[in-house]
Symmetry: none
Subunit: 397 residues, 2 copies
């Protein structure tokens, strides 16, 4: 269903939807069992008996998604239409308070000798060193615009150019190889000419400012991106929505779609407390769990099982609020065996008093694949959830 139709059909109601997003929840078997199959999770499995299950492809069958497009799909947006550039994701990842006029790029500190790049990561300088260098670069002034330079980890940083009529239709200055000079930044469209001049001017100031900072004596920029203008949850779905997440990037993604970002601590208990306090105030709750994805990326099979078991313990707290629609799924799979995001479809459970329980009694990749929701594109989850919350009017007479 195209989002335009949802905008027409959706209505404001009193019902509430909770999305419990267990990041990277899907796995593949190690000694015959996946992390979900090994985990002792009586609460989720019990809920399964009153729910419907299925599996979802975040982008398309076989495609491994990044966190940006996977979350857009969860939220009902076509991830092939709304493209989150690398620079934007980095800015979201450090929790930078982006404005619509911002153009962002991902940066590396690098080493040059006689104008030639000899190390694209400046020997992987420490994050502390990086922080000092970002302070130096923040001193550079360009007339008519503001520039923000903020550290990520090791050699990585984000630069944000803020000003009117800036465009991200720019080529990278990072040639992605060593042994060659830096590239100039070229405009890809007429509209981007001014921005290219500004960025190149900034880069030439950087060269002077870092001249004595060997090995981090230059920067490489890539993935220029504008703030993504995207219709909000309120416009599209009439939902007042909030985000309960501990990691900056997910807060940033939620902010993109117009959610309120609720301050919460670091633990699941903190997150539950915030959910309970704010439950009367919103229609939609994006509750994000990071630990599962982290353990998956570390290749920590046991750790991921434990993380799933920890999530299971908060299920009664969520159910005590009696959400009208309760969705448990992930944004993508992160099998410990692969130590990375993967292309495997993601198991899903939807609880509502209007569902026809499909006989699935355990929540796992294999069990969910036999559920009545079948296998479908993740982008459809939002319309299905709105339906079970009785938030969609009839189509046609």
């Amino acid at each position: 269903m195209k989002q335009e139709f949802l905008e027409i059909l959706s209505v404001k109601t009193e019902t509430k939807i909770v999305f419990l997003i267990i990041d990277g929840v899907g796995g593949v078997p190690v000694d015959g069992k996946t992390e979900l199959e090994m985990a002792n999770k009586p609460n989720i499995d019990n809920l399964c008996k009153d729910s419907i299950c299925g599996i979802m492809d975040p982008i398309a069958p076989g495609i491994t998604p990044g966190s940006g497009p996977a979350h857009l799909a969860l939220f009902g947006y076509d991830p092939l239409i709304y493209d989150i550039g690398r620079g934007l994701l980095s800015a979201l990842g450090i929790g930078f308070d982006l404005k619509e006029v911002d153009t962002c790029a991902r940066g590396n500190f690098c080493t040059i000798e006689d104008g030639i790049i000899i190390d694209r990561r400046a020997g992987r300088i420490s994050t502390e060193k990086n922080e000092g260098l970002c302070k130096i670069l923040s001193e550079i002034k360009i007339e008519g615009i503001e520039v923000f330079v903020l550290p990520e980890k090791e050699h990585r940083f984000v630069v944000i150019f803020r000003g009117d009529d800036l465009s991200s239709d720019l080529s990278d200055s990072d040639p992605q190889v060593t042994g060659v000079p830096l590239s100039d930044v070229f405009p890809k469209t007429e509209d981007a000419k001014k921005t290219a001049e500004i960025v190149n001017q900034w880069i030439s100031e950087v060269r002077k400012a870092l001249a004595s900072q060997y090995p981090a004596n230059m920067v490489l920029l890539r993935g220029f991106a504008n703030y993504l203008k995207i219709p909000s949850f309120l416009e599209l779905y009439k939902l007042s929505s909030c985000c309960i997440a501990t990691y900056p990037m997910y807060k940033g993604l939620a902010k993109l779609v117009g959610m309120d970002i609720l301050d919460c601590g670091e633990t699941l208990e903190d997150q539950i407390k915030i959910l309970k306090e704010n439950y009367p105030s919103y229609d939609f709750f994006f509750f994000h769990i990071k630990q599962t994805d982290k353990k998956g990326e570390d290749g920590d099979y046991e750790g991921k099982i434990k993380a799933i078991e920890d999530v299971d313990k908060i299920i009664p707290d969520i159910l005590s609020l009696s959400p009208d629609v309760f969705v448990i799924t992930g944004d993508h799979s992160t099998p410990a065996l692969l130590k990375a995001h993967s292309w495997h479809p993601v198991p899903l459970l939807i609880y509502s008093k209007y569902c026809i329980p499909d006989g699935i009694t355990k929540f796992s990749e294999r069990d969910a694949s036999k559920g009545s929701l079948g296998r479908f594109p993740m982008q459809n989850l939002m319309s299905i959830s709105l339906a079970y919350a009785k938030k969609l009017m009839k189509f046609g007479a």
Copy 2:
């Protein structure tokens, strides 16, 4: 997933993919069981236990495919975009070495009396007679171009016009009914005017050359088609690929997508030998089995079961090579009961060490339909296979 994305996401790796295409593998029950359900195929069923299954629609639900579009779908091309004209398929079918400048048409020898078509198939003349007539027609010279006339079976032949700036935007000379005169060939576009003149000139020379050959005293042309320019496996998927097939048409289809065509004999043992010899040299192997389709088209239920059992015997040979991804499926169904290609979805098995075995223990239409891959368009098989071979990068950050 659009192929453009695969072109961006695909990477060259050391992993290997084998597609075992059992042509027309799907059937419908005779006395309650399909050919696959009746066949004794312990090796395939055993592999099933470590694999994932599903069923695929070659074109769309309910649509019976020809071999051309079915194979394009298997290879990841949208069969509704890449249209293999009848003339092109005929040229591929006889193993003609097509060039990009060629325009092909399917021909019938027919009988005319006083300029009126009285038999569109010239009494179904013998293939031997056809061969003699094609030799006569090959003598006709048209200035500035080359014309090739090659026999198919009985009254059918292929004509290939080779020259610069030829177009296939032409109407048929075959009115598809008797009792009327031949149609002239008309250009459908301005660009095709020259080609229409050339073809009409050739047809008028044919009329003279065949005047004394009653009942095969004229020809009807239809399905004009140019060589199909199609992005190759190497461009799209970074795959060095080869075809191990015994029938010319499948070699022709493989050549269209840029595969190397390996010489092999007529038997399954010959094909296996060629696979083993060439295994180190390629990333992708298209291994085509014709016998199943042939038996299905003959309505030979028992023969098709036997053909499936023969294929089962070569499975250990293929597994001994340890392919990273091993796909067993067909291009379409050819139920013996129907004696023809059919619209039924095609069962599929994918083996990889990264799959989550879905509990399907027998390879058949009914069993595969319960597998975790669900039911999906055949065109997606390629991206799924590339994913399991770890040949696709992450989409988005």
